[in-house]
Amino acid sequence: MLDTTALRKNLKIIIDGDPWIVVDCQFVKPGKGQAFTRTRLKNLIAGHTMDRTYKSGEKIGEQARIDECEMVFLYEQGGAYAFMDNNTYDQVELNVDQVGEALNFMTENMNVEVDFYDSMPIAITLPNFVELEIVDTEPAVRGDTVSGATKPATLSTGYNVNVPLFINSGESIVVDTRTGAYVERVKK
């Protein structure tokens, strides 16, 4: 049984028989009172969220047994996202809620990790760093590589990131999928 000390963002946990993922957790401690952890949990099957407040040390649930499988993202059709196991060629589909924020950085043919609970696909995890193409940004400013100034740019997925001034449209960059931040330019 896990207690509040195990709570952290992205922890997957079974509460009353259902698998949940911790999407947010906050340490709260009122003056002269004991500590609490305020959490927001997302149901990994149904996709809805709930807010729960636990006293420090309180038991929360069982560690979820999640099987992870490396798969390739094939295509999206009518809100269903298809993934294929590279070894067995088995295919599975996830809905938009399950794919979640990964949509900001996922392109076709990308290798991702699909999480299975009880043989059901429930979520995906992207690699920490992915290469994506810039489709729209102001023209590059020559020579300015040190000032630290940035400008907005749109990725091929439609997501907006801030990039250094020397980046051009049509170039590819490395993005950290955990923070959504620009990391570096992809050298050709």
């Binding site: 002269k32 004991q34 609490f36």
Partner: protein
């Protein structure tokens, strides 16, 4: 380090310097002496829910300078303050750090109502001193009793039907979210059960003369009309030790030097403890204590949440 990081740090060094300079100037102007008290102590306090970090050999890092500063008050010091690191194990979050900077001051001859005024004066002075506009605050800061606050936010009066579990659960779930909508407010007259070392009200024995100031729901300081009666002090220490035991925590040794000083005589006074990092958060509009730290990447290790 990138240029963006170093310019952030330089700006923060300046903000922190302005706040600390303004605090010291305010207290100097009002006739206070700055004191220093030990960081390593034998008795780290009596709070049921505050865990001290042990340094070994029966010593701890101070969770607050309260007991030592009160000994100076008993020695006859009338106006004292200090800015000192305080340490609390198991506290890590957006508003908590295991090590944080505390401003604590004592003013003899006054009670908590005058202390409220002095706190507002300090706040106004510091806001002026760091050139931050008004930080969105209006003076005078509105005041509300704990009973009234709970009636508004949770529909019951804690002083009349005390229930500790319900009180804190409601605090976390409805009262604090309610306070987050108010730019600044002084919450006062806490239930007697949460008196710590504050004076019980002479007009109502169910409440104590204690207040906290909140800015956008963030607790900035905690202040009392200080308890002066030596017998009541002994009772509170014993009660706190039992409460810690009942909660499965080790009771701390009682502080005999402190109790002896109180028996010798403690004058009427008010004291206040203010979280300097949180004040800087409020003045700069930042949401995480790491954002006002010069070393946010140095994670403390005290079994807390990160």
């Amino acid at each position: 380090m990138s240029s963006a990081d170093s310019s952030r740090i330089l700006a923060l060094i300046e903000v922190r310097d302005r706040v600390l300079t303004a605090i010291r100037a305010f207290f100097r102007m009002h006739g206070y002496c700055e004191v220093t008290t030990p960081v390593m102590v034998r008795c780290p306090g009596l709070d049921q829910h505050v865990e001290a970090l042990s340094t070994g050999s029966g010593m701890y890092l101070a969770t607050s300078p309260e007991l030592h500063m009160k000994r100076l008050v008993c020695d006859g010091a009338q106006l004292i303050y200090q800015i000192i690191p305080a340490f609390r194990a198991e506290e890590e979050g957006a508003h908590h750090k295991c090590e944080f900077l505390m401003l604590e001051w004592y003013h003899t001859g006054i009670g908590y109502l005058e202390m409220m005024q002095e706190t507002e004066d300090l706040l106004r002075y510091v806001i002026g001193g760091c050139g931050s506009k008004s930080a969105g605050l209006n003076f005078p800061v509105p005041r509300i009793t704990v009973d009234r606050l709970y009636e508004d936010a949770a529909g019951w009066k804690p002083s009349e039907q005390w229930d500790e579990d319900r009180y804190f659960l409601d605090w976390v779930q409805v009262v604090e979210p309610h306070l987050q909508k108010i730019p600044a407010v002084i919450v006062y007259d806490f239930p007697e059960a949460l008196s710590a070392l504050s004076q019980v009200s002479s007009s109502n024995s169910r409440i104590c003369e204690r207040f906290e100031l909140f800015i956008n729901g963030l607790e900035i300081c905690n202040a009392y009309s200080e308890l002066t009666d030596p017998l009541v002090h002994r009772e509170r220490f014993e009660h706190a030790a039992q409460a810690r035991k009942a909660f499965g925590r080790k009771p701390y040794a009682s502080d005999d030097l402190f109790l002896k000083a109180i028996e010798h005589g403690m004058p009427m006074c008010a004291g206040n403890a203010l979280g300097v990092d949180r004040l800087i958060m409020a003045l700069t509009g930042t949401g995480h204590i790491d954002e006002v730290s010069l070393f946010p990447e140095d994670k403390d290790t005290c079994n807390g949440l990160f």
